[in-house]
């Protein structure tokens, strides 16, 4: 039941083709139900996911982001997810330093066999982001041009 008062976060998921996308397919074939808030963008591998896409998502109005791929050692391309893991370690640290709300990015490993893990991941992320509320802090800054502003006026 969705009423007007419940905040429905917009969440975008970046997943790899071989594990998480397939895992989410399995969630479907297993007919497990989950929240409608998450939309998937398919990548060949987590190694392909550009960190800028995460930033762009927030600027475009996403309240949360999921990034998911094969478990360590299970990468279809052997090491794409290891590269991605390093990238996320660094990226998260930078975002945190800058004060970006890193709780809004959920990283996960979901294999092709973990259909129920995918459903749980989506549901948990949705409820966590819902609790955090809309990411207006970020989105408002995106409106700067509309409001004008001068030196030092954010």
């Amino acid at each position: 039941m969705s009423s007007n008062t419940v905040f429905e976060p917009k969440i975008i998921a970046f997943v790899c083709n071989w594990c998480t996308y397939a895992g989410a397919d399995l969630t479907g074939t297993s007919r497990l139900k989950y929240a409608t808030n998450v939309k998937i963008v398919r990548f060949p591998c987590t190694g392909r996911i550009d960190f800028l896409l995460l930033l762009k998502s927030f600027a475009q109005g996403a309240d949360g982001v999921i990034v998911s791929g094969c478990h360590p050692n299970d990468c279809h391309y052997t090491s794409g997810n290891f590269h991605a893991r390093r990238r996320w370690i660094a990226f998260r640290a930078i975002l945190d330093l800058m004060g970006v709300d890193i709780r809004r990015i959920q990283y996960s490993w979901v294999s092709a066999a973990e259909g129920s893990k995918w459903a749980d991941l989506v549901n948990n992320t949705v409820s966590e982001i819902r609790a955090l509320g809309p990411y207006t802090e970020y989105q408002q800054v995106a409106d700067y041009l509309e409001k004008g502003g001068y030196n030092g006026e954010a």
Binding site: D25, T29, R31, T36, C45, G47, R48, G61
Partner: protein
Amino acid sequence: MSKIGVFICHCGENISATVDVERVSKEIGGMEGVAHAIDYKYMCSDPGQTFIKEAVKKYDLDGVVVGACSPRMHEPTFRRACAESGLNPYLCEMANLREHCSWVHEKSEETTDKAIDLVKMLVEKVKKNKPLDSIKVPVTKRALVIGGGIAGIQASLDIANTGHQVILIEKDPSIGGHMSQLSETFPTLDCSQCILTPRMVEVAQHPNIKLYTYAELESLEGFIGNFTAKIRLKAKSVNYSTCTGCGACIQKCPVKKIPSEFNAGLGTRTAIYVPFPQAVPNKPVIDRVNCNYYKRGACKICEKTCQVGSIEWDKEDEIITEQVGAVVLATGFDVKGADFFPEYGYGKFKDVLTGLQFERLASASGPTFGEIRRPSDGAIPKKIVFIACAGSRDPAKGIPYCSKICCMYTAKHAMLYQHKVHDGESTVFYMDIRAGGKNYEEFVRRAIEEDTVNYIRGRVARVYEKNGKLIVKGVDTLLGGEQVEIEADMVVLATAGVANCGSEQLAQKLHVSYDPYHFFAEAHPKLKPVETNTAGIFLAGACQAPKDIPETVGMASGAAVKVAALFSNDQLVREPVVAVVNRLAPPLYSTCVGCFMCETACPYNAIEHEEIKGRDGSLIRTIARVNQGLCQGCGTCVAFCRSKSIDIQGYTNEQVYAEVMSLLND
């Protein structure tokens, strides 16, 4: 891309039961750039596909989005349909409305909204799609097998028997590898030479196999289907086309005290030598390091004995080039030897041996003709201690892994000893007994029960000499850590199996990855055990990890099938999902600055250095180029390129960016 056709599938009721498909097609139909949008009961059915084909022609579509089941299911179907109607298949994308939407949500406004978003996202993506051609690479139907142990022999024979050419190179003067050194083999105790020799001969005589012994790989360039191998034929100093293999020269050679590699140092050989009597080819080479002539400039006795004048003093290494389409790596393994076990007295006490040396002692063709005798005094040892896990499973020694074969060959050794020395007493110190394999556990039990080998679970701390006896000091963990001390006549260490020295350099030459212990790495530990990360290069045998003969042979046949499968087509057709580095007109050439971050990131070594040269031949810049034969399309390089100079077809920056942008728009 401006005229996109969108086809929404009901999937019977699978989608339409929860998603309002009419609303989806209606709303999408109003999107900018969508020329045609319909929904239909079964898009994948013949009539459904016909709708697509007709629409492509009628509306002159330049892109198609099918909103249906998972692309992992029907992407090929719809791409084929597009291709049949004249639209480049890679201009067709699928939105997953079933697995990712209708099946996982209840019927509601939101579910339909989400379906619309999913289709929108793919419409935006497909607007940025570019027509692609699948990649076709010609295949040279000839394989290179490196290493002539049982793995290389088996792989060569299997490939050759499918009718394809094989080039087998072996660094030693003879093929055979470690198996030729073994006495009898577990778990059946059949004579190693007896089962191996016929295969060695078959290799030498097979019309499809070209054998180069005393040869090593110099370099390998190219990619799957199209490798160029440079092979160094080391100078043998003997002309094999005239040499009859009579062996007269060997008899006369005055340098006789060279430790024999074949006998693991227990016997000797001459400077001109055949490593063992059953060697293939059975012709000698001159070991230039030890030869008097090469050392001191005088001798040439062999030349005088040779009736056919086959000795070639001035012969130099020769480098030949061969074109091959696939490579099987079968360079095997090695065992740890001298100096690795000072605490066990190896290298210090003559009667402390490695397992491989014991094989030679037990072998009928060995230095003692199969009798177990002490190297120190030739006496028959009455008490013998075998130490398993000598080095293996010992992080302190840098070998934390299990060498897998030692438990079995130790049991075999103890058994052989008991069979040969009936009044002998044998003890085995072990950590665990790993006898996983058909009839293996039974084999070990036989050693313990029938051959009364004494098994003690525990580690040996030290081996030292006292009064001409070897004292083995250890603990028995099953007896609660009780100290045990055994006086032995001989100690045999089951030393760890390790990667061949030089395997690291070889891996680098071949651009295959290797593990921290320098064994070659398989492409996937479960699903691609014989493939490497480099397409077209396969693994067989102990070069991937220590393993026994049955496993080695199985793997070799597996690799051979992979090669044969590759050779079953004249061309290799691959999805064009590969990376490309942008190219621009001079003076830019490319935005790539040649930092080669992409190179270090690429798991497949697909990034090459391309030199851009001016008209005068001077180097202007070095930029990256993707070898499309090697690239597997993971796109890891793309995310690393700071200046966005490299992109991956099918998932280009523009495409994924458009998806993200569309998804969150209102």
